[in-house]
């Protein structure tokens, strides 16, 4: 397989504090009691991609991730873990490992993607058009981020959940325009030249870039070399490639400028002869001279692969997303979790112990060796391994990681309790995050707060 795979596992994302820490980098955050990275790796494994490079920001995080991968995938995947400095951005990370890349194309996947879209489909779309870049696009998650919702409430004109503005050709194969980040807040400017070439452009604000890209390797390296200011694949490299697609500044396969056009021309002619059954794309038509003679303009293609609506595709890049994904993976998208659900539509590890009159509702998960006292109730929540939960505890819509101790009479709603945390008696939490090893003293009530130990 002439594809190399790079998984960008990130480091300790600031957005996810206090869930992440030096000991638990983002890639290892548990989703249904499995590190989120395992979802990506599993999908790649299913697509029969076994050689991959996992890029981790920061040495500590790399150590953790590397340790976990070598333990979990020892004889299944051939994984190289590369360490890059923190805050270099996605483009910087690829720049740092550029010398490892040798294959014709590179598939770049974000390590926080929880999805059942086969990566093979993206690579196939990429190959079909001999594209320079192919991006996977998915619909904006239905659940919606409540964070975005709250900011939307402030600014009622803005609908929540807009991540990108994406322009495609009518066949939905080519990416013609993409706006991200701050551009979304402005009026959208569409270039007329590309519209003239393609005739019709479908603009969608309800799709988002899922951060899985297939790049032509030489093009990617060239762009990274030449544009040393580019920091992010999503915000710099991809938009750059998209907007220069009709006036390509890149050299495909590194041919020198003068010859390139000529060679390209010959290529195209023979290509057309070979494939004259298929109609040429607008890129090829545009490249032609005025009389349909040999191509005079250099173009490159940017493609999209749109994940169908039935597929699950969410990135774990905020606390809300973390909760949403946890809920979905044991709920609607439970085929992703890889577990067998019981008749009650939940998973209770055989070694877990439940007290009398304790109920665990559907869409719940109780990890190995966890104990619960009497008269507890768990709804739509994930509870990790070896937790000790007292009596009369309510856990609703929450994620409780491993080795958590929860005292009697606690009530936990919409919260995340990280590993080794301790809640003493009668603690009431609503929409809170409790960091690693934090102790919440008895009787406290918190709402919408983030509780963590001070970083030393």
């Amino acid at each position: 397989m002439d594809f190399q795979v790079v998984v960008l596992a990130g480091g300790t994302s600031k957005k996810l504090v206090p869930l992440v820490s030096k000991e638990v980098p983002k890639a290892l955050l548990p989703v249904a009691n499995r590190p989120v990275l395992s979802y990506v790796l599993e999908q790649l494994e299913l697509s029969n991609i076994k050689d991959l490079i996992v890029v981790v920001e920061g040495a500590d995080a790399a150590l953790c991730v590397g340790g976990w991968i070598s333990a979990a995938y020892v004889d299944r995947l051939h994984v190289e873990v590369a360490t890059v400095p923190e805050d270099v951005g996605t483009a910087g990370a690829l720049r740092a490992i550029a010398h490892h890349l040798t294959a014709k194309d590179v598939l770049v996947v974000s390590g926080d993607l929880v999805s059942d879209v086969p990566p093979g489909a993206v690579t196939a779309a990429h190959r079909r058009h001999d594209a320079v870049v192919t991006a996977m696009i998915c619909s904006v998650p239905v659940s919606g981020l409540s964070e975005a919702g709250s900011s939307g409430a402030k600014d009622k004109t803005k609908k929540p959940g807009r991540y990108n503005i994406i322009g495609m050709d009518p066949t939905k194969q080519f990416l013609l325009h993409i706006a991200t980040g701050a551009e979304l807040e402005k009026d959208t400017r569409i270039r007329k030249s590309i519209l003239r070439a393609v005739g019709q452009m479908d603009i969608r604000a309800d799709l988002m870039d899922a951060h899985m890209y297939a790049f032509n390797r030489s093009v990617l390296q060239e762009v990274l070399d030449q544009k040393d200011k580019f920091q992010s694949l999503k915000q710099d490299v991809l938009p750059y490639l998209v907007r220069s697609q009709l006036k390509s500044e890149i050299l495909i396969n590194g041919a020198p400028q003068g010859q390139q056009a000529k060679e390209n021309g010959n290529d195209k002619v023979s290509y057309r002869i070979l494939a004259n059954a298929s109609t040429p794309s607008f890129h090829e038509l545009y490249a032609l001279g005025p009389n349909g003679s040999a191509p005079v303009r250099r173009t490159h293609k940017c493609c999209v692969y749109i994940a169908s609506n039935s597929k699950y595709c969410v990135r774990l890049n905020s606390i809300q997303a973390f909760m949403d994904i946890n809920r979905d993976v044991i709920g609607e998208a439970n085929h992703l979790s890889g577990y067998n659900f019981s008749a009650q539509n939940n998973i209770i590890h055989p070694s877990a112990e439940l007290g009398s009159k304790t109920t665990v509702g559907p869409h719940c998960m109780l990890g190995e060796g966890s104990q619960m006292g009497d008269k507890c109730s768990v709804k739509r929540s994930v509870i990790g391994r070896h937790c000790r939960i007292g009596s009369n505890v309510k856990v609703v819509n929450s994620v409780v990681m491993n080795h958590v101790t929860i005292g009697d009479g606690c009530s936990i709603q919409g919260s995340v309790i990280c590993s080794n945390a301790q809640l003493q008696e009668r603690v009431a939490l609503k929409d809170c995050q409790v960091g690693l090893g934090y102790v919440v003293s008895a009787g406290c009530e918190y709402k919408g707060e983030s509780l963590a130990r001070k970083e030393k």
């Binding site: 701050a182 603009i203 200011k229 005025p290």
Partner: protein, 759 residues
Amino acid sequence: MGAQKKRAAAAAAAARVSEDPDDLARQPLQAILLADSFTTKFRPITLERPKVLLPLVNVPMINYTLAWLEAAGVAEVFVFCCAHSKQVIDYLENSEWFSQPNFTVKTIESHNIISAGDALRLIYEQNVIHGDFVLISGDTVSNMSLTQALQEHKERKKKDNNAVMTMIIKKSKPSPITRQSRLGTDELFMAIDPNTKQLLYYEDKADHSKGTICLDKMLLAENPSISLHNDKQDCYIDICSPEVLSLFTDNFDYQHLRRHFVKGLLLDDIMGYKIFTHEIHSSYAARIDNYRSYDIVSKDIIQRWTYPYVPDVKFCGNRATKLERRGICFTAFNSEIEQSRSAQVGSFTVIGYGTKIGSNSKISDSVIGEGCTIGSNVLIEGSYIWDNVIIEDGCELRHVIVCDGVIMKAGAVLKPGVVLSFKVVIGERFVVPAYSKVSLLQQPTVHDSDEELEYADNSSGTVEFSSIQGTADQSNGEMTSESSEAHKPKLGTGGVGYIWSICEGGQEEEWRHSVAPIPEDKLTELSEAMDDDQELVTQDRTALSTSGELISDSNASEGDDNEDSKDDSVYFEKEVEATFLRAVEENVKVDHVILEVNSLRLSYNMTSADCAGAVFYSMMKLAIKTPHSSAIGLLTLYPSPFSMVASNAYPIYLSGELQQNTANIITTWQKLLKSYLLEIDEEIEIILKFEEMCLESAKEFSPLFARILHILYDKDILQEDAILRWADEKEGADESDKVFVRQSEKFIQWLREASEEED
């Protein structure tokens, strides 16, 4: 009692609602046909005959439109006549249109109308439209079925009362090279909601300098999915609700259907009126907007795309012609043609009754009217020759339009794109240069690019015509002598007519709308230009993104914004300066200048500080300009006059002169300046502006800075607070920034002491 009344009202309302659908169904469909295009694209022909009566494949255009309206189920048509209204009405009266069953044609006449907007306002006043109507101009050829579009329109209207109009569009991709459609119209950018088909954005008359389309962010916030089209053509067939007419009345400045009305509705988010589109796929619809579309639509008609409105089917008044199959192409013939045995009539050609064709003449891809006489060895290619034209031996015509009664003497040649208006005579062996327009009438001399005036011109054509028509008929001889004297470009020996000079749009644009195909070299030239264009665009963007610091996207776009606002202020300054200079020259009253500057300020959305700065700037500029010669001389002598050396060497008499000028100007215009100095901030703004000028645009002032500051203080333009605050602000600035503070140190010192004393 009250309750009863209410109930009665409710019942009435209910009855109305229940009636409504029936009403809609029963209401006979009406149409407004504008028999005037309110443009001048078909001049000089339209000076003598209205556009709707020009023959299109030997049938006046209006017949195509009327025939289609009748077939589409329209019951009543109001033909709005303006220019040459008499001719239109006469024609209609003599035609069969007034005697059709189930199809009424009524004419509305007006002479002082200059735009489609005015026409619709007039129709509204007459109160003849009662329901949905079709709005069309009399130069439209179509064979589409209205049923579906009409039904869609009505259903939408039922759900949403604001859906007032349905526009018919058709797929047609403009050439990316010439940026115009096949019909010669400008490329059109539209944004349409793919689900509801609502029109969200409409841009014709594209501004080529702008490389991007700007979609408002609200648009995308409201519609998650939008299709942006460059591949659609506006058919200019609109299904409108009666509200459209009242909208025109409410917005009395709407003139043009698209440029004002459609854009107005799209931009106006208060009333919330909506326009929808209906795309036709297999049927034909096109409007003849210019000579190119005349050519293209004629060809489409001959090639039968417009069936049943084709030459061999009798659809109205026209005599059906016989079709002959030549190879795989059709040629329409009439039985009464005298054709020499050796003449060759090629494919896609229509020849009218009673036309004679001499030997060895070749005719292809052309339409020839009735009663023409064509000599021998004549070559006619892709041309439109109307009735009773005489073409003598050996003429050559390629891609031209020749109107009724033209005489071409032997050996005359018409280059591509030529238009010969009525009764022109071309002299022997005369070569008419490409794209020229020849008419018996002189070119109207008053030309203004302003569109309103263009309309006005056109309507005045009516008057012009009626007075001239008579004379033109009788006095051909007179005209000859006149023309040969008045105009240099004669039409050869015995030629009659004037060659119009091309002024509107310029010669370069002439090829766009002409009947002739676009020349090859033009295409290459254009495609090269397109490359450069593209290059510019990408360079722009990449430059922005690479120069941007780290988060290139947000930075780059912010840069854009800044540029925009900077541009604005530069324009604003220029406008103010122009206004001021004009005021000085024409001795305008200060109050009026204040008014003008105020209106500028509102239109550019500037603060009064900006105004103060701009006014002050223009005053200072004026001061420099007055001692013009000396200042220039100085500049060359002292390339950096703001250095202290230079200011020392500055000739006293010169600086004195400048100072005097400045003082005079400030005295004269102090009222103007003062009207913008409401607060101390504006005064500081002036000082800062002055400083900036001294450093950049008007270095002559730099040695005089302190003195002029003093003058401004004396004239009560600047208060001491402002000056002191300025000095304080500058305290912490760089050394280079403090040049002027230094210079005025004494003055500031004095001010300080004075204020202390007062205390």
